[in-house]
């Protein structure tokens, strides 16, 4: 397969580099690179045109600058926009080659050795094992008519669905990073749940067979048809070490009549070292559309990684009686910065939304909750409840809350509450008196603080997220 691709490359009239080791498109962002990506993925012409349209739009767009975390200017011409899976040669041969810190984290998370190996693609047998496991799942899914594959595969096999829904929630005319993604996205997941089907298991990128390196510009599209239900888990519970500086993914969710989508994320990308060097810029656009009546979209996120997190999973409540939910824990330590929150846009009647956001900042980090609740004129009898609490550890970090509240309908109610506080000495003293050391005590108190959100996660995830919360805050006390 790869040979074939290389062959294609050689034939490619613009003569791109064909270095096997790295297997990348030439640096830079231009029309040729986009054509290259489209070509190598054998995309139909409409998609290429769609990408090019996005690129045209990108030329006139400016990078947004209203956010709290400032970052050094990104040179978009200095990035690779396509990078195929690296060869195994580059990967560590055994566990001993790995960063000991990474191993330590695995240990604390309680991930079995086999899985540790798989996560790093070390032992081939482990990979094979999981492939067979994944196939079993795939059979169950196919039986029910559920489509779960990579978006590249979906473009080939289910072009109608992709064409109908791609860009319907995040149009190519959206903001800078979303449009950039539309122009150059490489891979991602595609899920379609047929009418009246309850997906029997939690879907996750983890189980997807061809979940090869998804790269920095992922595109995920999830469609829940009438009366269906799906719970989707994104990311990995173990640290994902991504070399890329910029991660600009787009996630689109569409819920039709009576459908429900539950989307959970545990994001633990590389946050940079203690001095704030390195780390991922996680600039992600996530948006869900409650298109049908009585539909529901629920976002749950645990954000502990990345140098800069900048994302607002949003819900557009278009269908009458639709429901949007957002549960978030964001933890920043050392020099991490997070500007995250949600947008709830109420368009339909009797729509409801709920926002629970917990922010914890430690070290020299900065944490911002930024949210929008917009109840339009026609959204009568809509309600929103927002609660955002922040916890500060030390006086070198910052916690900020910036909610925008717009109410244009007199029959609708909006309630917003926010508090900022620290862990009280009394609580710490009480725990320590009962034999916990300081770090355990902090972990316990923080977990209590986050409980409302952790409860929303699927079982297995919740346990690991809980541990992750503890690990992220390590060394922040005292």
């Amino acid at each position: 397969m790869r040979d074939k691709q290389i062959e294609n490359l050689k034939d490619y009239k613009y003569g791109f580099s064909t270095d096997i080791e790295s297997f990348k498109a030439p640096k830079g962002l231009n029309e040729e690179v986009i054509r290259f990506i489209s070509n190598i993925k054998k995309e139909p012409d409409w998609l290429l045109q769609w990408r090019l349209k996005a690129f045209e739009r990108l030329k006139v767009l400016k990078e947004p600058n209203w956010q709290k975390p400032k970052y050094p200017k990104i040179d978009y011409q200095d990035l690779y926009y396509y990078s195929a899976p690296k060869s195994f040669k580059e990967k560590p041969k055994n566990l001993e080659d790995l960063d000991p810190k990474l191993l330590e984290t695995y240990k604390k998370l309680g991930i079995p050795l086999q899985e540790q190996k798989r996560l790093n693609g070390i032992a081939v047998d482990a990979v094979f094992d999981s492939v067979s496991v994944a196939t079993t799942f795939k059979d169950t899914l196919t039986e029910k008519g559920i489509i779960f594959c990579s978006i590249s595969e979906a473009i080939q096999k289910h072009p109608d669905l992709v064409k109908k829904y791609l860009g319907s929630v995040i149009p190519i005319t959206d903001h800078f990073f979303a449009t950039l993604n539309s122009a150059v996205f490489t891979d991602g997941s595609f899920v379609y749940i047929p009418p009246n089907v309850k997906c029997p298991m939690e879907l996750s990128t983890y189980f997807r067979i061809n979940a090869s390196d998804t790269g920095q510009f992922e595109r995920t599209l999830i469609i829940a048809d009438k009366g269906s239900y799906v719970s989707y888990l994104e990311g990995c519970t173990a640290p994902m070490r991504d070399e890329n500086q910029l991660h600009a993914a787009n996630v689109e969710l569409i819920a039709l009549d009576d459908a429900e989508i539950k989307y959970s994320t545990v994001q633990n990308w590389y946050p940079g070292d203690k001095d704030g060097k390195g780390g991922i810029y996680n600039f992600v656009t996530k948006r869900g559309l409650c298109k049908g009546k009585n539909s529901k979209i629920s976002w749950t996120q645990v954000e502990t990684g990345s140098a800069i997190t900048w994302k607002y999973p949003s819900c557009i409540l278009k269908g009458d009686n639709s429901i949007g939910e957002f549960y978030s824990i964001a933890i920043t330590n050392n020099h991490q910065k997070a500007d995250t929150g949600t947008k709830m846009i109420h368009l339909g009647k009797n729509t409801k939304s709920k926002i629970i956001s917990k922010g914890i900042s430690a070290g020299k980090s900065d944490m911002t909750y930024r949210g929008l609740v917009d109840i339009s004129k026609n959204a009568s009898n809509s309600t929103n409840y927002t609660q955002c609490d922040s916890l500060l550890m030390g006086n070198k970090c910052g916690a900020h809350t910036i909610p925008y509240i717009k109410n244009k309908n007199s029959n609708s109610n909006i309630a917003h509450e926010a508090t900022t506080s620290k862990i009280s000495e009394d609580q710490l003293h009480y725990c320590q008196q009962r034999g916990l050391n300081q770090e355990e005590a902090v972990g316990l108190i923080v977990n209590g603080f986050c409980k409302e959100v952790l409860q929303q996660l699927p079982m297995e995830f919740a346990v690991e997220a809980q541990k992750l919360v503890g690990i992220s805050l390590e060394g922040s006390v005292g």
Binding site: M393, N395, A399, H400, I402, I405, N409, N413, I414, T419
Partner: protein, 414 residues
């Protein structure tokens, strides 16, 4: 507009007798304003109220030249009779009368400033505009340990002589250690379609107390911007009350800097809007030292197709441990067309703080109306009763009993 500004500025300077120093500062202010123009929604602070558009739509071409030589008559009927008070009467941006008859004259120093504060705020070009076109700036200094015996009422009057004009006015107060003053601002507008830009600077020394009540009731089509800056030294207290209801458009902005320990700032506001009004209150309290406090309570009652906006920011510096910051905004939307926008913001860099904000908006509670009606009230009375109760909470925060009574009578809340 640029040409108009320049010619009006030259006319203004040549017809007044400013010192060279003042002219120089005014020129810089003009340049600042020319560079930025009127604020638009592109600026975060003006997101909900695009004053550039509002002026363009409601006034059109603005005149910047204001003749301060005209002697204006004062209609004394508007004076408040219920309480004895000192007066400052301002007509069309010009101070016509300064009367401190109840005070000891040696305890107050009245001067005009020629070295005014530049306030070159990057996203507030209106301050530059004010510095540029305001008349001589009066400075009122209260000497150490002196408390005003009677309240000071500032009457801000406009008459029919002005229209389509930008009126700028600026006043400075300096409160030395242990001094205190109560100020009531009352506006009486008989003009239409002007853009008024008021700027008040307060400097509070140690233990000083400022109480400022701003009442804006008379219906008019003027567009107003009112900016107060309050700087707090140790243990000083400020209490601001805003009642905004009359003009078509007002933005009240209160900036408090809590620079000394144990200082506190209280801001309470009411929006009572009907027809097609657009009012905004923006508060910014900066906690810059340990053990400071701030409270904000803003309530809006919005009818017809009016729009109420509240933007409140609490900033806590990393030095300002043991800060108490509390903010609450509530809105009642009485009509389908009414709109309420809020942006309650916290920016916190210290860990040992207690800060919270809350915002709620919605309609009158049907159950409460039902309860009152089942006890024999008609629907209209029941609604009025609930609205009065809703607003009364804010009025009750006024700490001066005499003034509280006066204000209750004036705005018809009992």
């Amino acid at each position: 507009m640029e040409q108009k500004l320049k010619t009006d500025f030259d006319k203004f300077i040549s017809s007044s007798n400013f010192s060279n120093q003042e002219i120089k500062l005014k020129k810089t202010a003009l340049d600042n304003f020319l560079k930025n123009g009127f604020p638009s929604r592109k600026l975060e602070n003006w997101k909900f109220s695009d004053i550039q558009q509002i002026i363009k739509k409601n006034i059109g071409e603005l005149k910047f030249y204001n003749d301060y030589k005209i002697e204006n008559e004062i209609n004394e009927d508007i004076y408040i009779k219920e309480i004895e008070h000192n007066k400052i009467v301002i007509v069309n941006g010009k101070v016509e009368r300064l009367n401190f008859e109840y005070e000891e004259s040696d305890k107050i120093i009245l001067t005009t400033l020629d070295n005014f504060n530049q306030n070159s705020n990057e996203d507030n070009s209106l301050l530059s505009l004010n510095n540029c076109f305001s008349n001589k700036i009066h400075n009122i200094l209260l000497k150490k340990n002196y408390s005003f015996k009677k309240p000071l009422i500032i009457y801000q009057i406009t008459n029919e002589k002005v229209s389509n004009t930008n009126i700028n006015f600026q006043l400075n107060f300096e409160l030395e250690e242990n001094s205190s003053i109560k100020i009531i601002n009352i506006s009486d507008d008989n003009s239409q379609k002007n853009f008024m830009n008021n700027l008040f600077n307060f400097n509070l020394g140690k233990n000083a107390i400022l109480k400022n009540y701003k009442l804006e009731r008379k219906t008019n089509t003027n567009i107003k911007y009112d900016y107060s800056s309050i700087i707090h030294k140790e243990n000083s207290i400020s209490e601001i009350f805003i009642f905004s209801s009359g003009s078509d458009y007002i933005k009240n902005e209160v900036n408090c800097n809590l620079e000394g320990q144990y200082s506190s700032a209280f801001i309470n506001g009411i929006h009572l809007l009907s027809k097609n009004k657009h009012h905004e209150i923006r508060t910014k309290t900066k906690h810059l030292y340990e053990n400071t406090k701030s409270y904000q309570l803003i309530k809006s009652v919005i009818d017809d197709s009016s729009k109420s906006v509240y933007q409140g920011k609490i900033y806590v510096d990393s030095k300002a441990q043991k800060t108490d910051g509390y903010q609450l905004s509530k809105a009642l939307l009485l009509n389908e067309q009414a709109e309420f926008n809020a942006k309650p913001e916290l920016e916190i860099y210290a860990d040992d703080v207690k800060c919270s904000h809350g915002s709620a908006s919605g309609s009158l509670d049907e159950n409460s109306i039902f309860y009152l009606m089942s006890r024999g009230l008609d629907q209209k009375t029941a609604k009025e009763l609930l609205i009065n109760g809703f607003l009364l909470e804010v009025v009750e925060k006024i700490t001066d009993e005499e003034i509280k009574k006066l204000i209750k009578n004036m705005i018809g809340l009992n």
